[in-house]
Symmetry: C2
Subunit: 346 residues, 2 copies
């Protein structure tokens, strides 16, 4: 390959590529000993997120070690919530803990943060990463989708059954829409600032929307998500929408205004293509569990995903994040396989 | 209503009913103070399951307190696993802990239990419950579906990502099919014994199958489930298949051989009907979260489910189990609403 690696951006735009680009959700993570070393050095997870040089270091690791075709900003989905005024802590070995937002009074106290003034470390990380990448691969920014951010804020962390956030949705739909709207406004400014700092694409993660019925996705999550994409369309960078558990409402996902639809492993890319009217680049959707399988099985799974991908251009990825105890050699092998077996369209 | 309440059985068989029957998954549970009192008296959860008189007492509570149209055997989905030779404990405030089955050697040590000799307390509970119900409403038996039982056995309890069971599936599909087959054989004998003891219908719970891709559901979970229904068809009692997270593979669920398709809240009953070729009675699918909503919202949700139910006969239920802190008055109101607003077809 001569010149900068632009496979990822080209595939997002449904332009011809020399082979299928690949990156992995959570490609900078605990399955890499190099990541664990930096994390250790940082002392805490939030410190790692808030120190641009360290965030840059772990962002670049999978580019160097795996040969992926895109870097994704290392940060945490909850960073903007903290900036909104919700206290946040990570206990070692546990998930995040937030001060739960469960009343209209608590909602009124939140503000839409100025992303540069209040999360400047993220924008600085973007600048440092772009400089250190020096064009090798594009940098993808990201944020949580409004419903997922609202879920974290209301539940105060991860949840088994999302009782509080769904209770609010059922009980007080009006103020729940205000909460989603506040999240959307926050995400709009936050992603715009990332792009202005140098992010060349971004992904909106709707990790928890799969708990919603199709009707509620349409009524609540979708309008807030569509507001984000509508506001950021003019930036001209590829916009990716990932929803975990999107099988009930793939048709609705297609209405959000994203350029790339990113799906989990539960439905085939062929079905995803069909149900989204063939109008998008697709990203996905290898089951992260396939990385634990023997090499021959992994190879046949990769071949299957590539074969299921419709004639539109594909960004190869997992259907969910890399798990912490994934064998790194499998991740390395995966990237090699995709490049070797991917679509050559020159 | 004169004579015994047979709405539930009639609806399962798609026969006319005087109004829509309703029962609730986990209708005997912690949201009832009467349940908590018996649980306290029993000392431990497993003791409650293994003492037929106490299991009978909690089974009947929702019939008396809510007026549901079916009783469901109170037991635990893991009881047959313990009988297979997998040690089981419930720690207070935690989920179940099983000795994980993760090797072929461990698999070879398991046996298909004789349900009468090894889980006789369940069959005795069925007999006691039938006697105490004395025809008021039918009694539904149940078991876990093979994939869900295999998941519990391999993970050793509940799981966030099902890494071990899915790792086995990817890595050693042959022996994983043997594991599923062993679960199917166990379930067949176990449910047959329940019906012989007096259960008038049964439900197979595939609580975790929603983690599977459509392809893997078809290749692994479905054949084992279909084996169970195929073997028990001759018993002549209505057979219900419930899968949580079935949106990716509703079409495949329709191939399992069940009489009643029970779905979660994520897709509408109209869509479920369409995607299962209109050939089944349907059960579901109110979001359990609607029970936390104000009464007027609950009422409109109930009306919506009733309206979405296709012309086939409906067994009203939740899309998942009643949560422990559900307001009991909401459950009582729900049953009243369904009976009042349900289809009258006399």
């Amino acid at each position: 390959m001569t010149g900068p690696n632009d496979r990822f951006l080209r595939a997002c735009r449904r332009q011809k590529v020399d082979t299928t680009p690949v990156w992995l959700m959570r490609q900078a993570g605990r399955y890499l000993s190099e990541y664990r070393a930096v994390r250790e050095r940082a002392g805490g997870f939030l410190t790692l997120c808030k120190t641009p040089e360290l965030a840059c270091e772990v962002t670049l690791q999978p580019v160097d070690l795996l040969g992926v075709d895109a870097a994704i900003l290392f940060s945490d989905i909850l960073v903007p919530l903290e900036a909104m005024g919700i206290s946040l802590a990570f206990e070692e070995g546990e998930g995040p803990r937030l001060e739960p937002v469960r009343t209209e009074t608590a909602l009124e106290k939140l503000h839409v943060p100025d992303p540069v003034a209040e999360t400047g470390f993220v924008m600085e990380a973007v600048r440092v990463i772009r400089r250190e990448l020096s064009g090798r691969v594009p940098l993808v920014g990201f944020a949580g989708a409004p419903f997922t951010l609202a879920s974290y804020a209301v539940e105060g962390g991860t949840s088994r059954n999302f009782r509080h956030v769904l209770g609010w949705m059922y009980g007080e739909p009006g103020s729940f829409r205000r909460l989603l709207d506040l999240m959307a406004d926050t995400v709009i400014l936050y992603l715009k600032a990332q792009v202005e700092a140098g992010a060349q694409a971004f992904q909106l993660f709707d990790t928890w929307a799969g708990v919603l019925s199709r009707r509620h996705y349409r009524e609540f999550a979708l309008p807030a998500t569509a507001k984000v994409f509508g506001a950021l369309k003019g930036l001209g960078v590829p916009m990716i929408l990932y929803v975990n558990g999107s099988a009930p409402f793939l048709e609705e996902m297609a209405l959000a205004g994203a350029d790339v639809i990113s799906v989990d492993w539960r439905v085939s890319l062929g079905e995803a293509r069909e149900r989204t009217r063939g109008a998008f680049a697709l990203q996905g959707n290898l089951d992260p569990m396939a990385l634990y399988a023997p090499r021959a099985v992994l190879q046949s799974e990769v071949a299957r995903v590539l074969a299921e991908a419709p004639p539109a251009v594909l960004v190869f990825n997992l259907g969910h994040g890399v798990l912490p105890d994934t064998p790194r050699e499998s991740a390395v092998a995966l990237v090699e396989m995709v490049h070797a077996m991917g679509r050559k369209e020159i």
